[in-house]
Structure formats: C-alpha cells, structure tokens
C-alpha cells in the first residue's frame, strides 16, 4: 500500500484552510459581527432583520410620545391659565352683583371682564408650530374669531376631529381635544358665559349679573374636567416611555445575541486559528525539503 508521495498538494490545501479560518476570525473580531452575510446563518440574519424593524418602531413610538406629550402639556398649561382667568371673572362678577355698585363702577368691572375674555380667547387660539391646539383637525388661522351675531360672541372655525398617535404596538393616544368641546360646551360655556357677564354688567341688572357669574363657575368645572383628560394622556405617555426604554435595551441585546460576537469569543477564535496556521506552516517547513537524495552521496 503506497502513500501519496506528493505532500506539497496536501500541505497547500491545509494552508489554504487555516488561512481561511484566520481571515474569518480577524474579520469577526474587527466587525464584532458573527453574521456578515445571510449565508453565514440564514435564520439569525432573518430574525435580526425583524428585530431591527421592531427597534425602529420603538424609536418611533418614543418620538411620537415626546411630541404628543409636549402638545398635551402646552394645552394643559393654556387651560390652567384659562381657569385662573375664569376665577378672576367670578370674583369680578360677584363684586358687580353687589347692590352698592353704581353704573360707573359696573362699567369699569365690565371692561375688566372684557379683557379677561380677550385673554381667554388668545389662550383658545394658542398654536404649536403654527397649528392651533384647539382647532380640531381643521387648518384655520384661529380657532375662535369674534362674531357679534353669535350669542357666544365668537364663532368656532375648527372642527370636532381628533387625531391619534401611536405610542406602542396597538396603543394610541389622542393628541387633541376639539375647541368647541372646551370653550363653547353647553354644559359649561366659557366664551358664552363671559360674553353674557359683560352684557349683564353693562345692563346693570343684578339678577342677570348673578346668573352670568354662576354660568362662569360652571364653565370652570367643565374646563377642569377637560384638564383631567390631558393629565391622563400625560401619565399614559410617561408610563409607556419607561416601558419603551426597556424594550430598546432588550431588542438591542437580542440583535447582539443573534448576529454579534463578543470580544472574548472572537479573540479565542483568532488565537486558535493562528496556532493552527503556524502548525501547518511548521509541518510544511519540516517535511517538504526532505528526500532520499539528501542522504545519498
């Protein structure tokens, strides 16, 4: 039984193999990736793509939450100002209903209530990036414009549309409350009651002033209820954001586990590949030059 006398071919195949392993391990160490192309590990490559898509969604949910949060906080702050203004109007109205007031005094109080009304309207027309917070989904310049023909004194130019934004898989929050629901709601009409109070103070009838002041108090109740909605939205977004930041971490770990390689493993692979390659080279150096002719003289 002869053995293959041609060692150089076997050795060169062996050297190619160890060199290939060496190259692969260097590449893995340099890139930190075990899976460079899909054929390295088809299942892991596909699962990694799905995980990356989920990460992209989580990033988007976080950003949506931030935007919705900022809008909700701005709207809530406007409503807080509105309540302060309305509270001041109640104080003015109570004073105006006092029988000791004369018409000049009432006229002065009426002017102050008028200025409260203007302040409230400018809050109702507040905008974020040029878009009204209380216009529904209509794109109009102002949510409320003065209209002497309207009993409320103002006409609502917006609509009752509500936008929603997604802050989680299957989780959405509303991003706005329509202005008519807050400011001209029949259950507590902010603009209507203030207009009514101004008219009553100008007319001087004490019972009218008292009725108007009571209407303004109802309006305060309505606005407070609407603020609860915004507070709820803010809470929901904050809770969701802390869940999302955990999700980001776990998705990143998942991706690392699927296609990444940790430094310790990569270095071990590299060392093994280097050792194997050196061994083949040493064997070749020992074996190749020897032949019978060296020994015959």
């Amino acid at each position: 039984m002869r053995v293959d006398p041609n060692l150089s071919l076997i050795l060169s195949v062996g050297m190619q193999g160890t060199e290939q392993a060496l190259n692969t391990s260097i590449q893995q160490l340099a890139s930190g990736q075990r899976v460079a192309v899909p054929s390295d590990d088809p299942y892991a490559a596909a699962a990694n793509l799905r995980s990356l898509a989920a990460s992209s969604n989580v990033d988007r949910y976080t950003q949506n939450g931030d935007a919705a949060l900022s809008q909700a906080q701005m709207a809530d702050s406007a409503l807080s100002n509105v309540i302060s203004e309305l509270t001041q109007a109640v104080t003015l109205g109570t004073r105006g209903a006092d029988g000791t007031m004369n018409s000049a005094d009432r006229a002065s109080i009426a002017a102050q209530v008028q200025s409260v009304l203007s302040g409230v309207v400018s809050q109702a027309n507040v905008k974020s990036n040029g878009v009204g917070l209380f216009s529904g989904t209509a794109s109009v310049t102002d949510a409320f414009v003065a209209d002497s023909t309207s009993p409320d004194g103002y006409t609502y130019q917006g609509n009752s549309g509500v936008n929603q934004t997604t802050i989680g898989d299957g989780t959405q929050v509303s991003t706005n409350i329509p202005g008519d629901q807050i400011f001209i709601n029949p259950n507590g009409n902010v603009l209507g009651s203030l207009t009514q109070l101004v008219t009553a103070l100008q007319s001087g009838t004490t019972s009218d002033i008292a009725d108007a002041t009571a209407a303004v108090s109802s309006a305060i109740t309505n606005v407070s209820q609407q603020r609860v909605v915004y507070a709820g939205t803010v809470n929901q977004i904050n809770e969701q954001e802390s869940y999302l930041s955990q999700e980001t971490i776990s998705l990143t770990s998942q991706q690392q586990a699927l296609t990444g390689i940790d430094t310790a493993t990569a270095i071990t692979n590299l060392t093994q590949a280097q050792t194997a390659h050196s061994a083949v080279l040493a064997a070749a150096a020992k074996v190749l030059p020897t032949s019978l002719l060296d020994y015959l003289k």
Binding site: M1, R2, V3, D4, P5, N6, L9, I10, V13, A36, V37, P38, S39, D40, D41, P42, Y43, A45, A46, A47, N48, L49, R50, L52, A53, S56, N57, D59, R60, Q63, N64, A67, A68, Q71, N129, V131, S135, G136, T137, A138, S139, N159, G161, N163, Q164, T165, T166, T175, T259, S291, L292, L293, L296
Partner: protein, 456 residues
Amino acid sequence: MVGLNGTLSIASEALAAQYAGLEVANNNIANANTPGYSRQIVSLSSAASLQNGVSVDEGVTYNGYTSVRDTVLNLAINAKTSDQASLTAQNTALTQVNTAFSGTTSGIGASISTLFSDLSALSTSPSDPSARQAVLTDANQLADAFHQGAAALSSAANSANQQVTSTVAQINQLTQQIASLNGQLASVTGGQDGGALEDQRDSLTTQLAQLVGISSTQTESSPTLTTTNGSPLVVGSTAYALQVTTASDGTAHVLDAQGNDITGKFTGGTLGGAITVRDSTLPGLSQQLDALASQFATAMNNAQASGYDASGTPGTAMFNLPTDSSSDAAGISVALTSGTGIAVSSDGSGNSSGNLQALLAVQTSALSSGANPTDSYANLVDNIGSAGSQVSTNLTATTASLQQLTTQQSSESGVSIDEETTNLIRYQQAYTAAAKVISTLTDLYTVLMNMTTGAL
C-alpha cells in the same frame, strides 16, 4: 547448461533489461511534476524453456512497461470533479447575491422601517411640509433599494448566462482534442498500454468533467463520452460539438449535435451549475422579490385611496409598477411628486391624520403572499442565505471528498522521487553486475582462445 554463447546472450539481454529499467525510472523522474502522469513500471519476467523434460533458465525477458493507473478511481474522480465544479459555479453566484442582500442599516428592510417611521411622525404634525417631504424621500429610497436588489439578482444571472456560452466553447475544444487522442490510441496494438498518451486523454477527460457532467464507457475499439443524460460528446475519434443559441429572453440555450435543446438536461460541471443557478435558483428568488414589490406598492396605493391629501382631494397612488415586461422590483417608482400628495387626512380637513392608520396598517397587515412586508423581506433574506449556505457547505464537503480521491490516485499513480531514486540504484547495480558478467565472459573467451594457440 547453455554454454558460453548462451551465457553471453543472457548477460547481454540482462544489460538491455536493466537499462530499460533505468530508462523507465528516468522517465518517471522527468515527469515527477507532470499533472496527470501515471508512473510507469517495467515488466520483467524470467525466461525459461523446456528441453528434454528439464526446465532450462534463459535469463530475463523485457516485456515492456505499463502505467499504473486505476480506471475505476478515475471515473470516481471525474464524477466528484463535476460535482465540485457545479457547486463552485453556484457558490460564486450565490455569494454575490448574499453580499448584495447583507445590509441591515440600509437595503429594503431598513428602507421599509424608515418609511413607516416617518409616516407615523405625521400623526402629531400632519401639515408639516418637511415631515411630509421626509416620507416622500423615504419612498424614493425604498424604490432604489428594490432596484438594487433586482439588479444584484439579474447581474448574477447574467454572469451565469455568459458562463454557459464560454463553457460550451471550451467543451467543444476539449472534445476535439480527446477525439484526436482516441484516434492515435486506436493504433496502439492490442494489450499494449497507452502510456503517456492515455494519461493525456485521462487528464483531458477530467478537465471535460469539470466543465460538464459526463459518463464514459471504455471499450477498446471506441471509447465513448456522453453527457450524463446521454447526448454524445466523443465517440471513438469523432467529436460532437455542442451549439449555443440565444432565446428570445436573452438566455443562452445549448443544443446537441442534432439541434435538440438539451439545456435543462445537464447535471454537474460548470455548465450544469451555471444553468441550475440561472434557470432555477435565481428565478425563484427574483419572483419573491417582485411579489414583495408589487404587493407592497398595491397595498400602499389602496391605503392612499381611502384618504385625502393636503389639498383635500382624494389620495392618489404612491407607487407606480411597470406595465412592460420588466420586473416589478426593477421598475417600481414613486408616483407622487410632492409631500402634499400623501393622503394623511381622513375627511379632507387640513390637520387631520385620521387616514394614517390605514397607511401604517400596511406595515403590520399580511400581504397576499401571507406575511407582512417586514416578514416577507426577512423570509426572502432567509431563503437567499439558506441557498448560499447549503451550496457552500456542500462545496466544502465535496472538495474534501475530491481531495481524498485525488490523494488516493496519487498514492497509486504518483511518482515518488525516493522510490525512483532507489530504482535507479537497483537497476544501476544490476546493470553493473551484468556488465561485469560480460567482462568475465570476455576473459573466459580470451582464456579459451589462448588454450588453442601458443602455450601448448
């Protein structure tokens, strides 16, 4: 007893026989590195005859030399060579495709994610022009990613196609050479070994096996090579050329000598591998990519139609699919020219984002292929990876197996310098000894001659 003359003739025959051994050893050493060369050994036998019922030795007979080769092993090597070459051709194409689809932060999957992410941003600022423009840019980027994917697949198919043409030309060259060698070998008289000529023919046959899977039948009178499905390549000293024609879709088809289309019948060799990858592996992947492009575009267009754009008019198509024969993935384009065309609104009002749900639902709803766009793309990448990894694993195993067979062949037929050196010494010593015998016999002649002259 053969007498002095008989002994002299035995010695001179011995000289010739040992010299033949030296010649063969010399030839082997000269061809130590010749690829495909099978070492030769001399055939010496002891000559004897029967005289009056007694066996009489008559020295050595030189019977010629034979090459040490194992034809069965050669057949196995040819078959394995065909397998390896076929897998190599497939591996080259699939490696190219795998690299093209290896992107994770770029490519179709990433572009789909970015598109839906920027669409979702419109929920809190539906009328922001730069936010709308971002979505349009993303749609264009996705179309580009589809183009690149389609281009990678068609480029690999084109390379395979060119390989078909060039391989057939090489096959025809080889079959000519083999046929002419068959002609020369046919004149070698019966029983004799073909020697180096036969080695050459075996080597050419292995080269042919690398190009296309073959089967060979070896009868002395007409050695026959055919493709594995039986189309003749070489019969005796006649070569049958294959022809290449271009079909209407631009692909190269292979015809046998009678003009029959045998493209689908090749197995093995570079030709078989190139045809497999061009006609079955890559088209399967292209179909999946095209299905994803067309179903995705249709779903987005339908979602557009259920809403209103920034001017309050009903939404129009976001993507155009090609109407000509070009593939959907290669020809998909964005139909909208401005971000205002994105149908975000559900009722025509300028700040509504009510239709976004319909648009975003495309990301999570199953397309008609059964999976949502992200999963469909992940499945495509899985298939590309699996095709590549299967071929690459088989190639590694086949290469190792071929290496084993080649080593075995080399053990049988390879020239060992050490062995030939030993043979040189052996035959040289025997030659020297035979020459010494002749010289001794010459002295004996001299003694004999001197016996009958002078000193008596």
